[in-house]
Symmetry: C3
Subunit: 365 residues, 3 copies
Amino acid sequence: MRSLIDIVDFSVEELDELMKTACDISENPEKYSKKCVGKKLATLFFEPSTRTRLSFEAAMYELGGNVIGFSDAGNSSASKGESVADTAKVISCYADIIAMRHPKAGAPYVAAENATIPVINAGDGDHCHPTQTLADLLTIYREKGRLSNLTVGFCGDLKYGRTVHSLIAALSRYEGVRIVLISPDELKIPEFVKHDILDKNQMTYIEKNCLEQEIPNLDILYMTRVQRERFDDLDEYEKLKNSYILNTQKMSLAKPDMCVLHPLPRVNEINVSVDNDPRACYFKQVQNGKYMRMALILKLLEDEKREIKHTHKNDVVINEIYCTNPRCITSCEQELEHKYKLVDKQNGIYSCVYCEKTAKMKEEN
Amino acid sequence: MRSLIDIVDFSVEELDELMKTACDISENPEKYSKKCVGKKLATLFFEPSTRTRLSFEAAMYELGGNVIGFSDAGNSSASKGESVADTAKVISCYADIIAMRHPKAGAPYVAAENATIPVINAGDGDHCHPTQTLADLLTIYREKGRLSNLTVGFCGDLKYGRTVHSLIAALSRYEGVRIVLISPDELKIPEFVKHDILDKNQMTYIEKNCLEQEIPNLDILYMTRVQRERFDDLDEYEKLKNSYILNTQKMSLAKPDMCVLHPLPRVNEINVSVDNDPRACYFKQVQNGKYMRMALILKLLEDEKREIKHTHKNDVVINEIYCTNPRCITSCEQELEHKYKLVDKQNGIYSCVYCEKTAKMKEEN
Amino acid sequence: MRSLIDIVDFSVEELDELMKTACDISENPEKYSKKCVGKKLATLFFEPSTRTRLSFEAAMYELGGNVIGFSDAGNSSASKGESVADTAKVISCYADIIAMRHPKAGAPYVAAENATIPVINAGDGDHCHPTQTLADLLTIYREKGRLSNLTVGFCGDLKYGRTVHSLIAALSRYEGVRIVLISPDELKIPEFVKHDILDKNQMTYIEKNCLEQEIPNLDILYMTRVQRERFDDLDEYEKLKNSYILNTQKMSLAKPDMCVLHPLPRVNEINVSVDNDPRACYFKQVQNGKYMRMALILKLLEDEKREIKHTHKNDVVINEIYCTNPRCITSCEQELEHKYKLVDKQNGIYSCVYCEKTAKMKEEN
């Protein structure tokens, strides 16, 4: 059985295969309209996310399947104290595949470990959101014809934006990708992304403050919101905010074939007047997200028949290192084993299998 | 593309066609059971309304289609600050037709302007609720065989009852309709309904206080609730309330073929003992509402193919008059253009395209 | 028309028939996958219960039908003050069968009295939950090959656990069932269960405090949670709690073919390490619950055609005895008739048709 928890669970070849299927779906929807007849998707949304949930539901219906689920923890058994593991076991009796959204990192991983059906991570806290990255990749691929040899700018909040981190991780596996990181100093890309992704994969990248200056060089501009709440100094925010808002004036400085992406919802970080620019691809991205989710559901239900092994179980130590990340699923589920995986043999560094927080084994062990 | 925002968006001929289709559906449901296979309705309910939502969902399933959506703003992207316009654009990627309920007047209008699929107004604040009016019209038509030459009584809260205003507007286009308005003084029909609908269309109407006195003359009695909260003087409420409650005693004064309608939910304004009277048509109205919604979904998906133009765009001034109605969608969506349409050339009166609040252009313009 | 409000609404023969159908469904799901095409189940959940709701929804989809409904009173018309009776009448226009969950005892009974379609009680407060009992019965039947001649232990909270009371009532109709009641003194089985079920049906039963001592004798062990909130004396709770937690050590004392059941959700009353024991049947119970709900939906839609009479209407007095149970639906719906049914002619004892609270007719009558 196979699940998708983190975008790097899939090889580049698998991503290529998914994108090929998604393109075929968009051209021949009829061909796929009965592929999942008699199958059920369970959308287990422990926190609301309308766009992602409806994208999954639309995807399943366009494959001919049905949907059960909940859109909010208040309506779920979680409010009665049931563990994610038990929920996964129960839902395995009702559905054929799960899409799970959860406020805590690692919850979909726990579900995948316990379910007897495939699990798709539909967003786990600030950790991963791999199906958004699938939408991003397909959009770049369809607009530019390739994922390699591109200059990709990320603009706005690069500190907290998990979609930014995931897309950089995904792009790290293609050749000739140059990353331009544009943000206020308060919201620069975190060190762990630099170290674990950018440097580790020897990617070319630069960090800048000014969108206006960098936009002429970009093939892709990935916008995110600069939120007022992130600033200690509100004067600083007021001074900065307009420079991170995309408008027609800034678009006039960009290449004629640059693509603008945004994970949505958008508040005011892209001016509505940009929507009519043919380079604005964020609503195409929504459409592509649906096609990729269709391709993904098909793939996981196919792989299930092939009985591929779950890949997360090597070199794992159990209850030897305890995760202290308050946003990790281990922080709220008492009975869960704390599992760490050896990620850097040379330096003895382990990483929590749920939330990827790293730690060293204690000396006395 | 075509949407239904206000009942008067449809011509009398179109309403007749809808009623004809609805009758055929009720007689030959099988014939329609696969009309929408592969289609999806999105029910976007920014405030809860179980009856209306389930009616739409039942309608779509009986046409062979599927349903996605949300039942409450808390579960929607609105809580993340997304505009109605963006929601409409995103949902256009997921569904084939939208039914939208929203607390603010004009929200479905904004959706229709931005969606690439038809939008049905499923109730926008105290503004319009055209599919309720469709249910009302079909019920009158099926029970009486006609919509003209009828004496129609409206009883109860005629001030705040949007279903009353909409039905009067719809009936204004048929011949020989006499309107009897029965309410306490506190809850009389508003001036704008008198001026814009009753007088403008030269309808015959009278205003009365006593249901008992008027009921013998009625062909149709449309009941609504007299809510305690509407009264400043609670003694006045206590004195009045029973005279607006329909019971078997009052029914005994009515014609043997009078029909009782009610938009539901009913609290105590119609006594449960009336339910068994064959003249009580309010549960038939529920059934008819489903058939009309089926006919409407079919019509809009058909019209879509014919590429009929949206009719709301003539004589509109943009950002010249600003709407100050706190119940208008412009009150909560900052980026929305304020649009006014010239409705009375002689007097220079404009009407907000979202909420229909009227205004004059300022002198200096 | 036929509904399922209380497990004893069905005869032993009918239960046997249901279990036979459920077994056939589990072996030949394809045979049933189109039985309900064009039919709709309405899941009216006035309080959340994800597991039960999703079980019903999965059941209906596996029969080829569709589902409409709500998962929570906040999203329902109840918040606008609509009566259960009116809701039932309205939903009868939209769906073919209802599954209703409600916090008040008797609400599904009221729905069944007013709907024109079958109603299934999906849990009414602390009163009944017959489809859970159907899941329990099928699990015992499939695991042991019979429902008679079994020693069945119930452990934990026997005072408030309605699933315990219902299963004992169901088992009372089979021969040679011995009941072992294992609980702290605070949570012993209530007198009315002893009197009305155990004694009345001359069942063999014993009451004990120690799970460890009794487990070796059991064919079936039905676990429930001992909740901290039930104890006045928390020291007492702390002292006791571990003795009612099932773990591998206690399992080692049990028969090799004992079955462990639990209605779920489980918090900590069964240790996760027991899950891998082949005698742990609580996830099988979930699967069986879905099959029984499928069989039940089929049966009720079949019975509907046969126009079987509702059986609840004999010997009923109306508005002569008033129910004072605050958990009864009569406590919150003002217009509802208070109905009592004569259950013990000799002693003149009546029972509320909604919540089964017993009372005598007042002397002056």
